[in-house]
Symmetry: D3
Subunit: 67 residues, 6 copies
């Protein structure tokens, strides 16, 4: 019954990678807590780099500076 | 003053259906808890089926298998 | 498969009222969108009035003023 | 290490305004709580006006009525 | 820079198990997406069983019925 | 109408500091985006240090090491 929300920047994540994240998190919750995968929900949010801030600036700005 | 977030898969939900969800949740909070509709906020997130996981796989995969 | 998060102030909500919220939201999603109740998840967060702000002040302050 | 999520309606917010929000929130957390900006994360979600409800109706409907 | 929120019912999760969840999710994001663990944030919310609904009823009710 | 969620570790934040956060964020949204304070909602979540992970470990562990 767990609910997991993964927020990452929107920078070319593939369907294959998303599958691995979903599978990996679901397995982890089963291994560590015995949670039934049937009702484990995972939602991935891909956030535009202009909408993600760290250290007081957007990731778009950081990428421009090579960060 | 309640805040309600509804997350559903992005599969052709109409404006009319969204209105019904917003109205329905707002009414429910007024009926059950006496909350003033004036400050009840409802946010609907429509999530790409590739970004929604259940049972360790994405909804995109399930739909392909007829699930 | 929907996930619904309801945030309300922590002001004496009873178990009975929580049941009504859970039931009401689950029914609404089935009626409006045909969502299967089996995988509809509802999470209620009760927030301390000192941690909830509206109009630039906490609900604790408002309540003191009779608001 | 704080995490801040700002949800606003998707109505033409500029990159410049997003930068100001990110900078402003990060500064606020440093000033008030002494939080290190290096690990302060800010995520801005711009929500379609049809998906945002207030007073039991969507913002799209309100805007049509001039609200 | 990813942010991960894990919501589970509050049913005796140990510190050790939380450490495993935090470590496991952080490793997963590094393995699958190459994300730097230094800025991967994981927040675990333990939700009272009376505040968690599934299939239209609270987990408290389910547990009473042996579910 | 904005909704802002601030997540911080639960380490002795005072009522006064919470008021400053609520006021500061509400003012920021008015200054930058012209948002009406009347419907700006701010919710502060204070997270137990054992439930907050960074760099693959909990903040509780970091604090023990003097981090």
């Amino acid at each position: 019954m767990p609910y997991v929300n993964i927020k990452i920047t929107d920078e070319g994540v593939t369907s294959e990678q998303k599958k691995e994240l979903i599978k990996g998190v679901t397995d982890l919750l089963q291994t560590v807590l015995g949670k039934n995968p049937k009702t484990t929900v995972v939602v991935i949010d891909e956030i535009d780099t202009g909408n993600w801030g760290i250290e007081g600036e957007s990731v778009t700005e950081r990428r421009k500076r090579g960060g």
